[in-house]
């Protein structure tokens, strides 16, 4: 019962926080602390839930998700939509990821000078939206949470961002809206075909093959928009470069995962026939992400652009895992979702810290920062190492799993792309090292006085992420087996 309440509170608490923060004095330290405390409570509860789910999950061989702590009641009777939330292995992992990113996002905005109420308020709504996405198992509820972020994304980026912020914010919001429109259309189709929005009930119903044929690519690509699959990736560089640090962390760390999560949880799960027909062709799109992405990153000078393209290529690996349609590859994709969340969170957080000190994101204008701000520099380098797949950090585990898994798919195209993807890890190394070397190493070119040492909260963020990266990188086995309980139903549905 306690867990049930906790699970519901996950998304209600952020809203309540916004509500109760209205009377607090604008820009006062209390406001920040209040929001931080709320995010901290959510983080602790999500970790607690993870532990509880971990304890209660047994190995799963059915094609049904093993849902725990369900809450279910009628919601919109006219369309028989239910309020139906629950948690299983994959969602509990994603919840923790989201909670960590939200928590650190608030920390990263600690020194925001004005309009804190608006910023934190919208940020909490974003938080509520992702928590909701990961725990809802009713398509309407899922979509409500999924699309909610459009409400705040534009204002957060355009109001608090930097550079070409209005353009970037619009590009991001609208492109994401295209994706969610496609999702909504297919959800409506699913409802019209089956008469239910309940994900668990739907898994027992086989959708007509003709419907799957048309609906699957729309749904998959709709989800893939937010995970910036080619050719819908263009929002990502513009959006990330414009967004404020916390929003970049959020967008790359959690929001982009929501798409992949949806692809796995909903698109592939509900339409296995469509998946079998289409995914082999979608590999061609993935090839762009995985292979061309790093090369584009090499030619950019703006840190956020580089990181955005790095995210694009890493997200491509998630899709490679999905498209390979083997259990190991699925697991790799799930691991990569979590792992990339951490590493990109760390990336954007450190970039934000550097930007707040140097007021530039052009790597050619910076040099030798390691000397002045070693803590942040080390954080950046570790994020980079995680990004290029260094063993011991989580990126390697996820990538290796994806590669091993996708190589098991015997289709020629999948083989070719897997091989190219493996070979492209060099390219990743090139841009990450280029970035680190230009910016952190060499003689210091900025007066040291303008570069204060990392503040306490910044150190906290960095340490937090590094710990996460290490835990997942050094002890992946329990997490991997834990995730398998969510992966297996999807795979067995696929093989049915």
């Amino acid at each position: 019962m306690f867990e049930k309440v906790l699970l519901n509170l996950l998304w209600i608490l952020p809203f309540l926080t916004v509500l109760f923060s209205i009377p607090i004095k604008e820009n006062s330290p209390r406001l920040k602390r209040f929001h931080l405390a709320s995010a901290g409570i959510v983080l602790l509860s999500s970790i607690y839930l993870l532990v509880r789910v971990f304890q209660n999950t047994v190995s799963n061989t059915s094609s049904q998700f093993q849902l725990l702590f369900e809450t279910k009641f009628n919601w919109l009777n006219a369309i028989s939509a239910n309020y139906f939330i629950g948690i299983d292995a994959l969602s509990s992992m994603m919840l923790v990821l989201a909670a960590i990113i939200i928590f650190t996002g608030i920390l990263a905005t600690w020194r925001l000078e004005k309009n804190q109420k608006i910023f934190f308020g919208f940020f909490q709504i974003l938080a509520a939206s992702v928590y909701g996405v990961f725990i809802s198992f009713d398509l309407v509820l899922f979509f409500v949470f999924y699309e909610m972020e459009a409400l705040c994304m534009y204002l957060l980026i355009a109001g608090f961002g930097s550079g070409n912020k209005d353009y970037g914010a619009k590009k991001l919001t609208l492109t994401l809206a295209i994706g969610s429109s496609m999702i909504l259309a297919v959800f409506l189709g699913i409802y019209a075909e089956t008469g239910t929005w309940n994900l668990l009930k739907l898994s027992d119903i086989v959708l007509p093959e003709n419907f799957q044929f048309w609906a699957f690519p729309i749904l998959f690509l709709g989800f893939a928009v937010s995970s910036s699959l080619f050719p819908f990736h263009f929002w990502s560089p513009a959006g990330h470069s414009a967004a404020p640090t916390a929003v970049s962390m959020f967008a790359a760390g959690v929001m982009m995962k929501m798409g992949a999560y949806g692809c796995l949880r909903i698109a592939i799960y509900l339409m296995p026939e469509g998946a079998k027909i289409w995914l082999p062709y979608l590999l061609l799109l993935i090839a762009f992400n995985v292979i061309v992405g790093p090369f584009i990153a090499m030619r950019h000078k703006d840190l956020k652009f580089i990181t955005a393209y790095s995210s694009i290529s890493h997200l491509g690996l998630i899709f490679l895992g999905l498209a390979a349609m083997t259990p190991i590859a699925f697991r790799g994709a799930a691991l990569q979702m979590v792992s990339h969340g951490f590493l990109t969170g760390l990336f954007f957080a450190t970039i934000g810290m550097i930007y707040s000190r140097t007021h530039t994101r052009d790597i050619t204008q910076m040099s030798g920062l390691m000397k002045a701000i070693p803590f942040i520099g080390v954080g950046f380098v570790i994020a980079g190492f995680a990004g290029l797949g260094l063993p011991g950090l989580s990126g390697f585990v996820a990538e290796a799993t994806i590669f091993v898994g996708s190589f098991e798919n015997p289709s020629p195209l999948c083989r070719v792309i897997t091989i190219l993807a493996i070979l492209s890890i060099t390219a990743t190394a090139i841009y990450i090292l280029r970035c680190a070397n230009k910016m952190l190493h060499g003689p210091l070119n900025i007066p040291k006085e303008s570069l204060p040492q990392a503040y306490f909260e910044e150190k906290c963020i960095i340490v937090f992420y590094i710990v996460c990266l290490l835990i997942l990188g050094i002890f992946p086995a329990p997490f991997a087996e834990f995730l398998d309980t969510s992966i297996f139903p999807i795979y067995s549905n696929l093989m049915r």
């Binding site: 009628n74 919109l76 006219a78 409500v144 699309e147 355009a158 609208l174 409506l188």
Partner: protein, 471 residues
Amino acid sequence: MIAIIPDILLLLFPFLMLAFKLFLTQAQTAHKNFAFAYLFILLICQNFVLIGDTQVYFSNWQIDTFGIFMREIFTLSALLALLLSENYFKHSMSEKPKLFHFSEFAASIGFATFGGVVVVSANDLLTLFLGLELATIPMYALVAWNKRDSEGTEAAIKYILMGSVATAFELFGFSYLYGFAGHLTFPEIAQALQTNQASPLIWISVLFIISGIGFKMTLFPFHLWAPDVYEGAPTPVTAILSVTSKSIAIAFLTVLVFGPLNAIHQEIVPFLALLAGITLLAGNLGALSQSKLRRFMAFSSISQAGYILIALLGNSPEGKYAIIYYLFLYTFSNYLAFFIFSTISKDQSETFISLNGLSEKSKFLAIALLIALMSLAGIPPLAGFFGKLQIFTAAAENKHYFLILFAVLNNVLALYYYIQVLKSAWIDKPAKEIALSVSTKQKTIILILTLSVLLLGFLPFLSNNLSIALL
């Protein structure tokens, strides 16, 4: 007999207002407060009307569940329009001179509202036609209310000329329908359609009727008048045009399509689908780069009309339910937007630029604007999204997947231009500081509307109550 009492009360309203004007010339404020209170009480009365089987009075005055809810929407819209107009009678706005003759204004709105009631109560073509005309003619006058504002007069000229042409089309269509069925009452027309082979006569009549009502509902390509008239008319009239007038038009279509024409529903549906698709595209494209708020709202309401039309593709109870639900939420969102626009228009023109710096001046208004516009754009968890969801679900039942995909993709365009407004209010910095003065009353209304928009969709009460009644 109880169900008809609110209708009689509504009919009395304009006469009472005129009587007040005649006998109590001095008490200006009392007029207003009386009007608000009267409509408010009326709204509550309507709420108490029992929902159940269709009741028929005077052989052709038919009160069904759909009608009862539509009455509430019309009354609500009238009440909100009067509240909105209050300030326009107090002082002149930057663009428009002050309005006069509140009582007559309220009476006209009362008549138009009653026209809507007639439309949803009609059981034969004649009553339907009378109701529509009763709803339309006061609108012509309302648009031209401000004699000193030449823009308003010109808008009224456009409106009335094109409106009359549309009426002619409609009448022509009615005549063919009568010619085909030989009767004017709905059950007999329905029966004639069921028994007889559908002849070309009927299709021409359908084409003419839909074209005629398409004008009122601003369907493509009969929507051309809307931006000019919305812009020229006083703001409260614009609001009422975009809500009441549109609701009446869609009620008219619903009564026809799900009533006498239900037998040929399947044949009309492709036409309606095309109309809906093109209309919402046209509305969305037109709104893309506007700079004047009312003109912008005109295009936005054109595309909303397209969305509502989609509900007609569904089957009868779901379609009707979706329409009512959507109209409720649309009324709240739309009036919320207009209320906010009215707060800025005292010293500034109603343009995007005047919104600049709103978030600095008043966070409350800026957030209310955000909520109103995002609701119109259909972003969850705001009301507009749930309205659209119901509409799409209704259409999806009949497998109009392609249209739904087209419509939801159009939402992206809509989101773009609503964001443009938000950008003016939140991001752009004002050229010069002009203080905002918002009265407590306005603030209260805006707060209530904001909360309605915020919660009515997500919380299931409205939806579930409607669905119990209608489905």
